[in-house]
């Protein structure tokens, strides 16, 4: 039955379902669904109890001549036009009569994956408890998550940057007190008992234990050791500020002690930029003590620190290459021959290093500076170049753009690049780079210049990107390729006529 509108409301239509029961909650849901339909102004669905009829009447949804029984079910609809009304009544009919009785799916509740450190720890199986938390959340929260992890007895791998110095000191003090590792902040690389975190390479297991303030420095070192036939027990990242005065080398010292006590570690290497002087002294003293007490050879690979600064018991090297040589020598091994043949005559112009790895860039800068050739080395992973874009080890396009643009520079003779393979890195870093090298070379040649490219590929043979394939790709683009950064730099120096 229908009734004319009161005021400017659309007409009211009420459909009665005799002796049909649905609970009020189901009916409210039904009515809410009807009201979502186009053209439906108001809808109500109730059991026709006196109370419910009163509710309908008060909201002007009850025709005066209706006299239902209390066990009748009413569907009242005010709709604009017959089509909207028909659609609403059909939907009501379908839900009341056709659809399965009001109940949800038979399935269980949706899974609720753990969100917090505490929930994660609780969710681990009893026979595989949590032991480490990798933190790469926004820097503002990294200290909080790290603190939660340390408080729960977890080691921390802190990839996040933008952790304040004060927080770093506090977290490392807390970690040290609990005998835990806090690796970071801004820690790119770690490997603990074969568990590889961040940017790492598939190096074979072995006796070399590495403490690294530097991500790609540790990768270069580990890959050179691997290629010499050695292997790696652990890489403990400590973050770039650990050997500063403020942090005082807390984590480096703790990591060295751990490696000294670790039966799997036979030789200990520390890789870092030059430490703060006061910290350097403390570090050298500790390394000497470790050497004496554990009998394990100790290598301090401190970029740019004079080799002569070592003590009788601690080998100090100022390049990654020198550090790797010392480590493999301690293992009775030698590095493979990575030298590139030097073409003559030299090309005019200087060297532009376009690096994705910060420590590799630092080593290149050091060697180029010592050679006295004109050069410029950019660490394109630095914030000033990424500017919100992904790190160039993750997304090779950023560096490819720089390489392509270098083809237009008349002052250049050599482009020097790194390709870092392994976990965390792009699936095909050489691809976009090779295209850019080819383009830059063409552009230079078109301008009557001879622009060469030298590349170093950092990687282990077992890395998923396939080093051989990556090397072939670069060679096809006319790059000279080696697998040792220092050798690549030397080749670049030779190419521009500098001393070898």
């Amino acid at each position: 039955m229908s009734q004319n509108p009161a005021g400017d409301q659309p007409p009211l239509h009420v459909e009665t379902y005799p002796h049909l029961y649905r609970d009020s909650v189901a009916l409210m849901a039904l009515a809410a669904g009807l009201e979502k339909l186009d053209g439906v102004a108001k809808a109500g669905a109730v059991m026709a109890t006196p109370a419910n009829l009163g509710i309908l009447a008060r909201s002007d949804m009850l025709p005066p001549d209706l006299d239902p029984a209390p066990d009748d079910l009413l569907v009242a609809v005010r709709a604009e036009g017959p089509e909207a009304l028909a659609a609403a009544l059909e939907q009501a009919r379908h839900e009341l009569l056709d659809a399965a009785p009001a109940s949800g799916g038979p399935g269980g509740p949706a899974e609720q994956p753990p969100r917090t450190v505490a929930e994660g720890i609780a969710a681990c199986p009893e026979d595989a408890p949590a032991g480490l938390v990798a933190v790469s959340v926004p820097g503002t929260y990294a200290a909080v998550v790290a603190q939660q992890a340390l408080a729960s007895g977890q080691h921390v791998f802190c990839f996040s940057d933008n952790v304040t110095l004060e927080d770093e000191v506090a977290l490392k003090a807390r970690a040290a007190a609990a005998g835990l590792l806090f690796m970071g902040p801004d820690c790119g690389t770690a490997q603990l008992d074969g568990v590889r975190l961040g940017f790492t390479n598939a190096v074979r297991p072995g006796p070399a234990g590495i403490v690294a303030a530097a991500g790609t420095g540790a990768q270069e070192l580990a890959c050179l050791i691997d290629r010499a036939g050695g292997g790696v027990s652990h890489i403990i990242g400590v973050g770039g500020r650990d050997l500063s005065d403020a942090v005082g080398g807390r984590m480096t010292l703790q990591a060295v002690d751990r490696l000294a006590a670790d039966p799997a570690t036979g030789v200990i290497a520390v890789v870092s930029k030059p430490p703060a002087p006061a910290v350097a002294q403390r570090l050298m003293e500790r390394l000497a003590a470790v050497r004496e007490q554990s009998g394990k050879p100790v290598v301090a690979c401190l970029l740019g620190v004079d080799d002569a600064g070592g003590s009788p018991s601690v080998v100090v090297r100022d390049t990654l290459e020198g550090g790797a040589e010392a480590v493999v020598a301690a293992l009775g091994l030698t590095l493979p021959d990575d030298e590139l043949a030097a073409p003559r005559p030299a090309v005019p112009g200087g060297v532009l290093g376009l690096y994705t790895g910060g420590t590799l860039a630092a080593e290149a800068k050091l060697l180029l500076g010592r050679a006295g050739v004109p050069h410029e080395v950019l660490d394109l992973g630095d914030d000033q170049y990424t500017q919100g874009r992904p790190h160039p080890m993750i997304d090779p396009e950023l560096r490819a753009e720089w390489v392509a643009r270098a083809g237009e520079r008349p002052d250049l003779g050599v482009i020097l690049v790194d390709v870092v393979l392994g976990a965390g890195s792009a699936a095909d870093p050489a691809g976009p780079l090779a295209d850019a090298i080819a383009a830059a070379t063409r552009a230079a040649r078109a301008a009557g210049r001879d622009l060469r490219t030298v590349a170093t590929v950092v990687g282990a043979d077992a890395d998923p990107q396939d080093p051989a394939g990556q090397i072939a790709r670069l060679k096809a683009a006319s790059a000279a390729v080696t697998r040792r950064n220092a050798a690549a730099v030397r080749a670049a120096i030779a190419l521009v006529g500098g001393p070898r």
Partner: protein, 475 residues
């Protein structure tokens, strides 16, 4: 060896960080910024995540669970609640609020209470009386009472007296008797029918129940509500089973009281929500045990006055943390919609504070339909609430989840850490006094109150835990 062969790595952040770790050894967290994205609050939270606070919370909730509330009597409020013993005084729901700021339904209920007490002859006179400041008001929670919706308690109203001398000594909890659905004082209605029913409740219902309880009582409310939970109640929005069990318990005595007894039996038969207020008083008695507990971050009250949501936490005892409250997102009776709804109202969230109501949804699948849900959603709700609670109720069990205890004891720290807000089942009042209930639904407590609480909690607790060795180290 630093990590054993079986160590699991938790990954908070980029999945690529652990791409070289065998998948079976990585647990990727569904991490999101804690403390609703407030870094300062997150640091305070972390500073309180200590063994000492955990221990305090465990002890506090154990003390709460040890309480076994008994319904011992029904007395006029003026005899039970000291504040109402003399003068023109009324209680209302939620955190403190000035009369001039009150929501219309609360104001309506106060007007009705003035009429009921004979302090004014007309609604206009009652309104003038209220505006003149001649009536002193206070939140129910300040006087061991709880009230649904407007929560207004007047001296002549009968209240249930709930206590457990063994565990709470002389401390009691109180709640008014439920008036039933439709037009009711708790929705701000004060017409002749409403007042007549209140007078009957004061003159007949209260005294009869008192008489009955002296014969059939005290009634173990924990056992009663627990049985209701196994019969489809959640102890808040759905208490029809508990009401029926209570009526059955009282029926033999009521039957012996002649016409007065029949009247009361009829009232109980017609009111599916009668047990709500009793469930609330029961929860209040238990939860108050944790109020003021040193070092504890457990929630001890969640209440709404129709304008603001108020939160109380154990270690900060009497302090309220408040935030504006919005209308419940629920389903509406025919003809009504969200525009008609008053902001969320009432103190029935004391049930969720203990760990039933929205937390016991798994026991009451039908309730999930209020949000268009399914039985699976009901289970999910109870599972989710376990993520922000420190314990499970030892008696209130959830059959559908293998009879596990209902999640109990909301921890402010867990709320901030997970970003999961307490679920509260609620009725929806019309924003105009007297229209009554126009819908029902499920709401979440507002995040602001938890963010406001964390600083004072750190202030109240911080100094006491640092020395215990577990304190936060972040500067």
């Amino acid at each position: 060896m630093i990590l054993s062969d079986s160590t699991t790595v938790l990954n908070a952040g980029l999945p690529s960080i652990t791409e070289a770790v065998p998948r079976a050894r990585v647990l990727q967290l569904n991490w999101r910024p804690p403390a609703f994205g407030d870094p300062a609050a997150a640091r305070l939270m972390a500073s309180l995540q200590t063994p000492a606070v955990e221990a305090a919370n465990r002890e506090a909730i154990a003390a709460v669970h040890a309480v076994r509330p008994k319904l011992v009597d029904v007395r006029p409020a003026r005899e039970a609640i000291g504040f109402l013993a003399s003068g023109r005084r009324l209680l209302h729901a939620g955190p403190p609020i000035a009369i001039e700021d009150m929501a219309d339904p609360v104001r309506g209920a106060l007007i009705g209470a003035c009429l009921l007490e004979g302090w004014a002859a007309t609604p206009e006179a009652a309104a003038q009386l209220l505006d003149s400041g001649a009536v002193e008001v206070a939140p129910c929670h300040h006087h061991h009472a709880v009230g649904p919706m407007a929560g207004v308690v007047a001296p002549s109203m009968p209240v249930v007296v709930v206590t457990d001398p063994e565990h709470t000594g002389t401390r009691c909890a109180y709640a008014t008797l439920n008036e039933g659905l439709g037009k009711a004082l708790r929705f701000g209605a004060y017409d002749a029918d409403v007042l007549a029913r209140l007078r009957w409740m004061g003159g007949t219902l209260g005294p009869v129940l008192s008489e009955v309880l002296h014969q059939a009582g005290p009634i173990d409310l924990t056992a009663l509500i627990a049985q209701g939970l196994t019969m489809g109640d959640e102890g808040h929005n759905r208490v029809v089973a508990t009401t029926s069990l209570l009526a059955r318990r009282l029926a033999p005595v009521l039957a012996g009281l002649g016409a007065r007894g029949v009247e009361v039996m009829r009232f109980l038969a017609d009111n599916d929500h009668f047990a709500l207020n009793i469930s609330m008083a029961s929860a209040k008695l238990a939860v108050d045990t944790a109020a003021g507990w040193p070092g504890s971050t457990l929630v001890t009250a969640m209440a709404r006055n129709g304008v603001e949501f108020g939160l109380r936490v154990a270690a900060t005892e009497d302090r309220w943390f408040t935030a504006p409250v919005g209308p419940a997102d629920g389903l509406f009776f025919p003809g009504y919609g969200p525009a008609d709804a008053n902001p969320d109202l009432g103190e029935s969230a004391i049930t969720e504070t203990l760990g039933i109501g929205g937390f016991a949804m798994a026991a009451a699948p039908a309730i999930t339909r209020f949000v268009g849900g399914t039985p699976a959603d009901a289970l999910a709700n109870s599972i989710e609430m376990a993520r922000i609670t420190v314990s499970r109720h030892p008696v209130y069990q959830l059959p559908a989840l293998g009879f596990v205890g209902s999640p109990s004891g909301i921890d402010v720290l867990k709320v901030l850490d997970t970003g999961i807000l307490p679920l509260i089942n609620t009725g929806i009042a019309h924003k105009k006094a007297g229209v009554g209930q126009i819908g029902a639904g499920v709401v979440r407590a507002p995040q602001e109150v938890f963010l406001k609480a964390i600083g004072p909690l750190a202030g109240a607790i911080g100094g006491t835990v640092d020395d215990a060795g577990g304190g936060g180290t972040l500067p």
